[in-house]
Homo-oligomer: 607 residues x 2
């Protein structure tokens, strides 16, 4: 086991090595921006999928929707640059809300972020697999298996530690950025040379029922689906401590670069899709269709598909950085199990990484790795946490009073807009799956409070008055035996060392055997009384428990009862199957008894 | 858990209730003969399936093959009536071979029987499901699920105890016998009135390539497949102790009745299939086709199908009686884990029942619940154990010298014939799957020897010289702590009661915290030294283990080290998730250490 762990996870790192795990900007961009950048792989497609419900003519609306999303991106980026400077210790919306709004708001943000991290893994991996299947349709039957395998691969990489990941992961991010920008550039040269091919050229008229309520709702839903492009722009604000110093400044610069790249790629792809007249297909992504249109199914097409899969894999990895950090902070505040604060021996929050892996694999299994089915759940949490973070930021700035009015206005506007988008997202995608998130967030918040309450009560209960001095307390020792052997002799030796009040107990099914046992015991005479219990039901455990029950009732207030259970240490694992489980069953039955100490005495079998 | 167990398994029975679990003949027939009788549901079909490989004309050979099988049945029945009288304590081939041949032969018989019990469950349940699917084809997609469910149902019924099963099971056996006999009678009246419909009437000529080597091999394979009709006739000889006294006489009478019924039904069905010109179909059994031919799809047809399913369910149940009894006897001889000898609180061998369930479910899953795929594995073990049992019987009779020559000749002939059938079965079905059984039997026998060897060595190792007197041995006590609390105070009280040599140990990640801890400890001053271990890797377990290592090296020869591990007894199961697994991990790491006693001290949380 240990060797297997070393092989996958690597050797342990010392605590002081934490400091070395700081990232330069170009590596941090790869680690923290892949979530945001990779969303261009599916955002345009999700807009077109909703518009297709109105009619192909409605595809023209993808351009104003994309522009609205670009405006939203600008607003959010400006706000988050401020947050990075004001809260360099990371934690994003949760910490901002905790410091400047109140606990309930911070817990709502925390719940929303946790859910979105899990969704990021599920959506990115599903979408990455879709990109791969567009290029290699023969893999279609293994869609879900591939997705689960990729999540498990991510888990192993992250249990190894963040810095190695950054080195491994920088290359594909830049490959993706360059290949997508190349595709956009070549695409535009083609259009410039050959003219428009798409719906615009075909002069398709917008659907007539566009301006009804249902039509408007669909337009909003298309916008809300496109907003999935913005998921992950907050990742940098949660990861500031991982930057080289001056961390806040480097983080803010990285954020600006990320938003510029994101905006260019998203708008470029949406424009090309429109210009080429591309509609969503079941087993081929929109980006794959554009790439095929621009490059044909040549080497560059495959580079785009592979780079897309890789960056979506990195996007999922963003969650593997953010989620364990977030849950560790929440757990420090005692709203989550304390074990989430413990770093493993590679200096990462191993439990958080494992938890994220399990949850996202569950989501992938439930939704059969289908990106379109997961998208309606997505983005609600992101925009809710955007809103709460900016709200807290604005409150903090208003309190400090030294910041300019213009800046506060920008953030106030950002809060308003992202709050509006949250509502639009919930309303327009409610029946499609957004309802699940609106149920899940309160449930998670309720869980936070239950956990916190439990910890508070326990701490109260365990508190010790330092004037209290522990006194020596005697114990009675019980040795369950099935015959006379070296194991029994060893247990008696130990028992004599810890108490003067010892009794050996055996369970017998028939009187004859019991008599022989009594005779042999008296011949041996180890100065310990033997009690023989009769078992009408032929079980060993029940009569022993009954006997211990009577002793518990008879004993004095503070006295302990110690039960000695022999543990055979076998040389080969399968030998364990050959020795009676009686000891194991007895331990399991006794471990929840008050005042009963269970002591396991090892006996090494040499054979 | 306890209540759930009571609901499914029933209340515990007292040991003296064993005596009451004796069966009258008519109930014993239902319990022990269902395996043999039920095989008429598939034996004819398996013959025709092989003959179909030659051609429909070859179906005429089903009649001579059936007659050969009837002769074989007579021979085996006569032999086993002798065995029942000579070995009334049950155990069948295993005990006969152990007493009168030698240990290797008895182990081969034991392995063969064990494998066949598992196959009986898999084949009978698969075939029972096939009967059900013939009547209700809409259930087809759930074939494997249904089979697994039925095995689990059998497991629960058998964990409840044998007598209740007999009462529940008698009705369907007699329903099956009566309905099949009725079907045969009505079928013959129809033929008598209307003349032959089948191949005979159509004058189909036997295939020309019949008398080649390949053709002969197929004929032998058809015969070997038909021999599956004889599986289970030995069940009564293994179950003699369950009969009312005089048990051997009652068992012998029951066996004769069983063979008569089996012969009539098997030959009747084979004859009707031939007369009606019925060929095997993929999703409908031969018996279903006959029943439809005779009764149409009316109520009587459904009675036949349901009765067939039920008796095949009972056939599987035969194994649930025989397998645990057999493994209990083998385990008493120390060739299997001792836990197979332990009766559960309903007086049945619970572990044997559970083992049989697991193995047969595995077989059903691997072979997708397909009877035809399982049949080639079947019967090899049965005929091998028939041969060994008769061989042993013959040796015993020759030794006693008081039995007549004629009787010995009958059994010698039986031995010869069943030995021949074993060889035919292996050779003719070798590539179809019989090879698996010829591999599995030696593997199981090898396992028997490995287990027996291990037990012998251990017994030698544990043997105690009664002149040896256990001496008092001191222990050093280690209390791992993470802070100062009531839990620590309680542990120290216990430690002071069992030793004078106590040390508290804590693991710390940073110096500042360690200093505070040291200061607080000195203020408290419980008269126990505190050792603070530094952890460069931020893990708690590794430094503790290293510290215990050093103590193990320093201590005297016979001294023990006791590690006190607190166990929080939580009020609700999920509270366990909120308390650090450190104690659990520590216990797991220490339990295999020599000379280290792990003592679990309960601390009840009231919140």
């Amino acid at each position: 086991m240990g060797q297997l762990k070393r092989f996958f996870i690597g050797s342990p790192l010392r605590t002081r090595q934490i400091a070395h795990e700081k990232l330069p900007k170009w590596k941090a961009l790869a680690i923290f921006s892949s979530d945001a950048l990779s969303s261009v792989a599916y955002a345009t497609e999700e807009i077109l999928l909703v518009l297709a419900l109105i009619g192909f003519g409605a595809f023209a609306y993808s351009l104003p929707i994309a522009i609205a999303i670009l405006v939203l991106l600008t607003v959010v980026t400006l706000s988050y640059r401020q947050i990075v400077h004001a809260f360099p210790s990371g934690g994003g919306a949760y910490i901002v809300a905790r410091e400047h709004v109140n606990t309930p708001a911070s817990l709502v943000a925390g719940a929303a972020l946790m859910i979105d991290y899990v969704l990021t893994v599920a959506v990115s991996i599903s979408s990455g697999v879709a990109a791969l299947l567009s290029a290699f349709p023969s893999l279609l039957p293994w869609r879900v298996e591939l997705a689960v395998f990729l999540v498990m691969l991510l888990m192993i990489l992250n249990l190894r530690g963040i810095r190695e990941s950054a080195t491994v992961f920088a290359f594909p991010t830049y490959l993706f950025i360059l290949s997508i920008l190349l595709m956009i550039a070549v695409g535009w040269i083609q259009i410039w040379k050959e003219g428009w091919h798409g719906y615009h050229a075909q002069g398709a008229a917008p659907a007539a029922d566009m301006w009804t309520w249902a039509g408007m709702l669909l337009l909003f839903r298309a916008f809300a689906s496109g907003c999935s492009a913005l998921t992950g722009v907050e990742a940098i604000s949660n990861g500031v401590p991982a930057f080289r110093s001056p961390a806040p400044r480097n983080a803010a610069i990285t954020m600006t670069w990320m938003s510029l790249l994101l905006g260019m790629m998203f708008f470029g792809i949406t424009l090309l899709a429109y210009a080429f007249g591309i509609a969503p297909k079941e087993h081929e992504t929109v980006v794959s269709q554009i790439a095929e249109h621009v490059f044909g199914r040549g080497p560059l097409y495959y580079v785009i598909q592979v780079a897309t899969t890789l960056i979506l894999f990195l996007a999922a990895n963003t969650s593997f950085t953010g989620f364990p950090q977030l849950t560790s902070i929440i757990a420090q505040d005692r709203f989550l199990p304390r074990k989430l604060t413990m770093r493993g021996d590679r200096l990462v929050f191993s439990n958080g990484i494992a938890l994220l892996s399990v949850l996202s694999i569950l989501l992938i299994l439930v939704f059969h790795g289908d990106t379109h089915a997961l998208i309606p759940l997505y983005a609600v949490g992101v925009f809710l946490s955007f809103t709460i973070a900016q709200w807290g930021m604005m409150k903090a700035l208003l309190r400090e009073k030294k910041k300019g009015i213009a800046r506060i206005a920008v953030i106030g506007f950002g809060t308003l807009i992202t709050g509006l988008v949250t509502v639009i997202t919930i309303v327009s995608k409610f029946t499609e799956g957004a309802w699940m998130v609106t149920v899940a967030i309160p449930v998670v918040v309720w869980m936070f409070y239950v956990i916190r309450n439990h910890y508070s009560e326990i701490a109260k209960e365990l508190r010790l008055d330092l004037h209290f001095q522990p006194q020596q307390v005697k114990t009675k020792v019980i040795i369950p035996i099935s015959g006379i052997s070296k194991v029994v002799a060893q247990s008696i030796s130990y028992a004599k060392g810890i108490s003067d009040d010892i009794v050996a107990v055996t369970v017998d099914f028939d009187d004859e055997h019991a008599g022989q046992m009594r005779e042999k015991w008296e011949k041996w005479n180890p100065n310990v009384p033997l009690i023989i219990l009769r078992s009408p039901y032929r079980t060993v455990i029940a009569p022993l428990l009954k006997y211990i029950d009577t002793l518990e009732k008879e004993k004095e207030e503070n006295e302990f009862i110690t039960v000695l259970v022999p543990q055979f240490i076998v040389r080969k694992w399968w030998h364990a199957l050959l020795h009676n489980q009686t000891a194991f069953l007895l331990k399991a039955a006794l471990i929840y008894r008050k005042d009963v100490v269970v002591s396991t005495i090892p006996f090494h079998l040499h054979e």
